[in-house]
């Protein structure tokens, strides 16, 4: 046997499949134990510097997108493909010898399962390469462009349904999406957790929520600007772009806990407070908590936070291969049912004799 033939035989063998599966399982285990997608500083803080360097060198910080993970998956696909192609003539021969549909079908179980796994891996991989994802957030009344999609989304309403015990039952956003390329009226949809909406080829998900507030700035007692800013976002002073007010966090029921810092006693707006930072040319000037109606004075500017409200974050996604992967999953199920429960007569006899 030539080396080439030997190699071909090996990569199409079940032995190679078992080795690949074992390695894949081991890599997945590592990926589950090492927190993924963190920075070098994060790993250094958690482990030692040497371990952090090793994690980054071995791509353990993003195992599931590492070159070796893709290589293993690629070899697994190749192995499955070769296995299915090489076994096909024998299966067809056996099927022709079958007397009933059930008997004929019985030979196809593993073959169908392998096709399903192939479809699933291909669907997932293609989805990973081609998917598009955007996030849009704001309060009711705001409109925003959605990345490079050519779509604009208006948030018509956002509701947080609470139960009697103040736990959240559902988050619901009512949105209207406009396609800038067409002059037609926008399409309205209601989006809640577990109930995404499909509009213009994109799927809109209710992702999360947070606090927003109106931030107004006066200069020498005259109104300069007013905007709704979400916590985690910032406002650039209109006539002094070097000066930035950053809205760090909102505490609806503010209390200062010694040793812990600012906190909130409840989710109800009983004692609203705003944690802010001020930056000038990228350098932090200060950080503090501002109570409702309190005024922050920076030179000739007066900053005021008011009207705290919940904002909604909508995730927008397009993954044309999700259905492909789903079909792969369903084919696996069919293949397993055929493998385990539609047996050809020979295997039935073996089972009976054992």
């Amino acid at each position: 046997m030539t080396v080439r033939k030997g190699f071909f035989k090996f990569i199409s063998s079940m032995k190679f499949a078992v080795i690949l599966l074992g390695v894949l399982a081991a890599v997945c285990c590592i990926g589950s134990f090492v927190t993924q997608n963190q920075t070098y500083a994060w790993y250094t803080a958690r482990y030692s510097e040497r371990t952090a360097a090793l994690i980054l060198a071995l791509h353990l910080d993003d195992v599931f997108h590492s070159w070796y993970f893709i290589l293993i998956s690629g070899f697994l696909c190749l192995n499955l493909l070769l296995c299915n192609v090489l076994r096909l003539p024998a299966i067809i021969r056996k099927t022709r010898g079958g007397t009933s549909f059930r008997e004929r079908l019985g030979y196809w179980g593993a073959w169908i399962t392998h096709v399903g796994v192939l479809l699933l891996i291909l669907g997932y991989s293609l989805g990973q390469i081609t998917y598009k994802e955007y996030a849009a957030y704001g309060v009711p009344g705001q409109s925003m462009a959605i990345g490079d999609t050519g779509l604009v989304m208006t948030i018509d309403d956002f509701r947080i349904d609470l139960r009697q015990d103040d736990t959240v039952e559902q988050y619901t956003s009512e949105i209207t999406v406009y396609d800038l390329a067409s002059s037609s009226e926008g399409r309205k949809a209601k989006v809640s957790v577990n109930n995404p909406a499909d509009l213009y080829g994109y799927r809109f998900y209710q992702n999360s929520t947070g606090w927003a507030a109106d931030v107004s700035i006066q200069k020498d007692g005259t109104d300069l600007q007013k905007d709704t800013v979400c916590a985690g976002d910032y406002l650039v002073v209109a006539d002094k772009p070097d000066l930035v007010v950053y809205f760090n966090a909102f505490y609806p029921d503010y209390v200062m806990v010694p040793g812990k810092g600012p906190s909130s006693l409840s989710g109800n707006i009983n004692n609203p407070a705003y944690l802010y930072s001020v930056y000038f040319r990228g350098q932090i000037l200060g950080m503090n908590v501002l109570m409702q109606d309190e005024v922050l004075t920076i030179d000739e500017y007066s900053v005021r936070f008011s009207n705290p409200q919940s904002y909604t974050l909508i995730q927008i996604k397009k993954d044309s291969f999700t259905r492909f992967a789903l079909i792969g999953g369903l084919v696996i199920l069919v293949g397993l049912i055929v493998s385990f429960y539609v047996k050809p007569p020979k295997r039935k006899e073996e089972d009976a004799s054992s």
Binding site: V18, G22, G31, T167, S192, N194, S354
Partner: protein, 271 residues
């Protein structure tokens, strides 16, 4: 209703414990009658267990499959159900002495969890919850049975010295076959679990696969059993190697359920 469930749960624990002791007595005393009583007690406990879970569901006003306690008690229920089915199907009462401690340990674990009924977070309020978790219960139950059968297989030669056990435990070939049947059932249902979970995750989190530790470990478990199925059809690997993988597979199942929730936080950590 929740008080009724609490009382029933205690009776169920006692029934399972008594059933386990009777299975041990059956082997020690070598009298068939004890196996029948042990099985009857196990069945009695199972019926009450079913009623307890239904009471919990009525009391909570939702499917009782959402927190660590509810899944642990359902896991024990699934183990008991699958154990009884395999005992009856293959007239293999000695297996009761091996499966009943696993059932008892699992319900003991459930007893240590908080029984507080909490309202569901929005992501869990989905019709997919029932499909996803109930298929996991059947899968885990079937894998529990295969674990027990793997242990029996590995101990089979040592048990040969015990004349009674030698007579009442099937030969290795049949043990291997029964183990295969339970793995096959578990594999099918685990695949259902993963696929229904992926469909649900896509609707709730916008991504059908996020490499969350729970997802990753369910995939690892699936791979381990896939290796088992491949090894079993390879000459020379049937039997012992397959039995070892059946044991490793269930350890992965336990880690997926308990270990991941305890040690690795992720989006599945509903404690």
């Amino acid at each position: 209703m929740l008080q009724v469930e609490n009382t029933l749960f205690t009776i169920v624990m006692i029934s399972y414990f008594a059933s386990m002791v009777l299975y041990f007595i059956y082997i020690a005393a070598k009298k068939e009658i004890f196996s029948k009583i042990a099985f009857a007690l196990q069945a009695f406990g199972f019926v009450l267990h079913t009623v307890a879970i239904v009471c919990r569901g009525i009391g909570a006003g939702r499917l009782p499959l959402t927190n660590q306690y509810e899944f642990a008690t359902s896991f024990a229920w699934g183990l008991c159900l699958l154990g009884m089915i395999f005992i009856l199907r293959f007239k293999f009462y000695v297996m009761g002495a091996f499966i009943s401690p696993v059932v008892f340990l699992m319900i003991g674990y459930a007893a240590m969890q908080s029984k507080e009924v909490r309202e569901l977070m929005p992501a869990l309020r989905s019709g997919w919850l029932g499909f996803h978790v109930s298929t996991a219960i059947i899968a885990y139950g079937a894998f529990g049975v295969s674990f027990v059968l793997g242990i029996i297989f590995l101990l089979r030669d040592k048990l040969r010295e015990h004349g009674f056990l030698d007579q009442h435990i099937p030969d290795k070939q049949k043990l291997d076959l029964i183990e295969y049947r339970s793995v096959a059932l578990g594999m099918l249902f685990l695949s259902f679990t993963i696929i229904t979970g992926a469909i649900w995750a896509e609707r709730a989190w916008g991504s059908y696969w996020s490499w969350d530790p729970k997802e990753t470990w369910s995939l690892v478990t699936w791979i381990i059993y896939a290796i088992y199925l491949h090894l079993r059809i390879r000459r020379g690997y049937k039997g012992k190697s397959a039995a070892i993988f059946a044991v490793i597979g269930f350890i992965c199942v336990l880690f997926t359920y308990i270990g991941v929730n305890t040690f690795i936080p992720g989006i599945h950590s509903y404690k």
